[in-house]
């Protein structure tokens, strides 16, 4: 699952736009959108908003949280808290990235916002690394990851799950050999090519 897929999933988020055209509602499979009335806000999926904006058919209304004061608070809270705080959107990075790259003019203080959102992501990412470290050293193979967003998970994927797979396999192996020293052929983690039957001359 690479970031383009995370983005694809995040593009389903609904966002408000102000169209400069009017149209009847559209019955998309994913649900109806519209009606569109020029000058009046309407909620559409992010992928549609980005498309219409590129066609200059609308203005994007940035979500409430995309605003300096709110984000400053979130950033401070994130620094203070030991755990991951709940983000205003579970795809905050994707929404920010798409809105700010397709419609920078629709977002007041766009560059500042870009920086602070990146800061928040970085704080959370380094928190993630620290907690991974603690969790692995605490001999865990299971951990709770509440409030972590998909893109943040992606930052340790697949290296984290892969590392845990290996650690768990080596642990199982160590335990198994302790339990039974005289065992044979169970090395190599689950495959072991050896089945020493007596019939090595079948015909």
């Amino acid at each position: 699952m690479d970031p383009t897929i995370v983005e694809f999933i995040g593009e389903k988020c609904m966002i408000s736009i102000i169209p400069n055209f009017s149209n009847e509602p559209l019955h998309l499979i994913y649900g109806s959108v519209g009606p569109f009335r020029a000058g009046f806000p309407v909620f559409v999926p992010l992928w549609l908003a980005a498309h219409l904006r590129k066609q200059q058919k609308c203005r994007i209304v940035p979500p409430e949280w995309m605003e300096m004061e709110t984000l400053e608070e979130i950033k401070e809270e994130e620094k203070r808290s030991k755990f991951f705080t709940k983000m205003p959107s579970e795809h905050y990075m994707v929404v920010a990235q798409l809105v700010m790259s397709t419609a920078p003019d629709d977002v007041p203080r766009c560059e500042e916002l870009r920086t602070i959102i990146k800061d928040i992501f970085d704080i959370r990412e380094s928190k993630l690394r620290t907690s991974i470290d603690a969790f692995i050293k605490g001999e865990g193979t299971y951990a709770k990851l509440d409030n972590l967003t998909l893109l943040e998970m992606h930052s340790v994927r697949p290296i984290l799950p892969y590392s845990l797979d290996h650690i768990a396999r080596y642990q199982r192996m160590a335990t198994a050999s302790q339990r039974d020293t005289s065992m044979m052929n169970t090395t190599g983690g689950g495959t072991g090519t050896g089945s020493m039957s007596n019939s090595f001359f079948t015909q």
Binding site: K137, S155, P158, Y170, A174, M183, G189
Partner: protein, 241 residues
């Protein structure tokens, strides 16, 4: 042995067959795993316990027909692992590399160890030796070592992606490192919005490069089998399936 198996590590890390639609799965040895075959090619020092008839050919330093008790020989893991741990023929001498890191493991000081230099397949090789270790340290050591080094792996794959870790890492670690670097690259591409273009398929690109090289190197024609001949092979027709 070291140089030999180091070459194997380099080879093991070359993943030619990984292409876009095969999201590479985590290493988990199976019958066809080339890497597991590389690991089981490693030699283990064994002491011969009893006369083994007509097996003298396994002893490079002797001319005898039989393998004589008391001799020390190197045997490949693929043979050793088919024997019972407490077989009457050989006693396996465990390599010192695991004992040597024991202290570092106990002190949780493993990140600075050049693991790949100790053994290119430090973990997987250790797995196979675990049952022969009556003190049950090796199993513990490999598991603890990786546990201690994961944070380090996470950090170096994010921060110094460009510096090749050379032989600081064992094969398993180098794969994890590669995966981490790849994640980071994809993320940076995404931030720059450059990850979305459709790209030429890897094999086609490789093939085109090869053809250009061939065209350049021999201008006298005949440039590579079917060189320029199939340049216009896909005709105006849409690729069909």
């Amino acid at each position: 042995m070291a140089t030999d198996s180091r070459e194997l590590q380099d080879l093991a890390l070359k993943h030619k067959s990984s292409c876009f639609y095969l999201s590479t799965m985590n290493y988990f040895p199976n019958y066809y795993s080339i890497e597991d075959i590389f690991v089981t090619q490693e030699k283990v020092e064994c002491k011969v316990n009893t006369r083994l008839q007509r097996m003298g050919f396994l002893d490079a330093g002797a001319e005898t027909e039989d393998l004589e008790p008391g001799r020390t020989i190197n045997l490949p893991l693929w043979y050793i692992k088919e024997l019972k741990v407490n077989n009457a023929y050989f006693t396996i001498a465990l390599p010192d590399i695991y004992k040597n890191v024991h202290k570092a493991v106990c002190e949780a000081e493993t990140t600075h160890i050049e693991l790949g230099r100790l053994h290119p397949f430090f973990y997987e090789f250790g797995c196979y030796l675990t049952p022969y270790d009556r003190n049950h340290v090796i199993g513990r050591i490999i598991f603890e070592t990786l546990r201690q080094r994961v944070r380090h792996l996470l950090d170096i794959s994010k921060n110094d992606a460009d510096s090749k870790p050379d032989h600081r890492l064992d094969n398993i670690e180098a794969k994890l490192h590669d995966a981490g670097v790849r994640t980071n690259t994809l993320y940076i591409n995404w931030l720059q919005m450059s990850g979305n273009n459709i790209r030429i398929s890897e094999l086609v690109e490789e093939h085109q490069k090869k053809r250009k090289r061939a065209d350049r190197s021999d201008d006298e024609g005949g440039g590579g089998a079917g060189g320029s001949g199939d340049m216009d092979m896909p005709t105006g027709k849409k690729p069909s399936w």
